[in-house]
Amino acid sequence: MIRSVPMLAALFLAGSFSATAALGADSDVAIKTFQFKPTPIEVKAGTRVTWANADDITHTVTSGTPENRDGQFNTPLPGKGTTFSFTFSRAGTYTYFCDRHQSMRGEIRVK
């Protein structure tokens, strides 16, 4: 499930995750010029959201906020072309951020 992503430290409580070194087809959230785009997004429960790093630097996709990490996922994307996917199985509002650049924030609204 996990390929070519060193230091993966993901935990998953509300769903499942996968990370790959290649850009996948379901790049729902782009990480570009130190921004998550689009954000916020609304998805149905059971949707797999994929983040794709287009920056030539390591970003992370870390659940919660820097002030209140919820421990659901915390995955480094070490450079351009790396991706991370997470399936949101339950309704709710999920915030996330980049742990290396904590002004980068995003939100997933699961209906």
């Binding site: 010029t33 130190f34 287009a54 030539d56």
Partner: protein, 224 residues
């Protein structure tokens, strides 16, 4: 944070602040935001961009120097004024980025830019308190930051290779560090010499940045 800055030694902040005034280009671009906006007298938008970026980045160095010198000299009011001006300059630099790459890029850029100023605060506090460990960490953070900054600009503009930008910013960090070290040593001659070097180096960042932007948006910056 500000209180941490205020410690020890003396120096040349007043001179540095005066120098800021002298460094302001009379031909600032109308495309430049905030206080940098003015009557454009240069011939082309590309020239406006280049002179505007040069002025903003040069101002950054002088204001940073004024802030560190006041902090090291324990002059609270002077430090606060310089720090406020430095942050206003940061906002203007972000607006300049936003004028090219949009509001979202501006919003992303500002905290990234402020981050290296925070690391310089850490370094200055380390120098003021003679805390070698804090100094070392701040230098490491600054060097790491250069990679982030290079990645940001490279992502925004493919004409700006990440490693090239990172190396240029690394030199900025090191030249400004020389200023702080000389200020802390109470050597105004060395401090001002280092300040001139740090200021001059900003052209090495502003010029290729402007050139890369013009290349990326050639129709927008076509000669008038």
């Amino acid at each position: 944070m500000n209180k941490q800055w205020i410690r020890l030694a003396g120096g040349v902040a007043t001179v540095a602040l005066l120098a800021v005034g002298c460094s302001m280009s009379p031909s600032m671009t109308h495309a430049m935001p905030g206080s940098m906006a003015g009557t454009a007298t240069s011939a082309t938008k590309a020239a406006d961009l280049r002179t505007g970026l040069n002025a903003l980045l040069g101002e950054h160095v002088y204001l940073a120097s004024a802030a560190t010198n006041a902090a090291l000299g324990g002059r609270q009011a002077e430090f606060e004024a310089a720090a406020a001006a430095l942050d206003a300059n940061s906002v203007d630099i972000a607006k300049a980025i936003g004028s090219v790459y949009g509001a979202d890029a501006e919003k992303a850029f500002l905290p990234l830019w402020r981050r290296h100023i925070g690391f310089f605060v850490d370094y200055t506090v380390g120098v003021a308190t003679k805390d070698k460990s804090k100094q070392g960490k701040a230098v490491n953070d600054l060097v790491g930051y250069t990679e982030d900054f290079g990645a940001f600009l490279s992502s925004a503009n493919p004409n700006l290779p990440k490693t090239v930008v990172a190396d240029l910013v690394k030199t900025h960090v090191l030249t400004l560090k020389d200023v702080v070290d000389a200020q802390a040593a109470g050597d105004p001659v060395k401090a001002n010499k280092a300040l001139r070097t740090a200021y001059s180096h900003m052209h090495m960042i502003a010029d290729p940045l402007a050139e890369a932007i013009v290349k990326q948006f050639s129709s927008k910056y076509a000669a008038q």
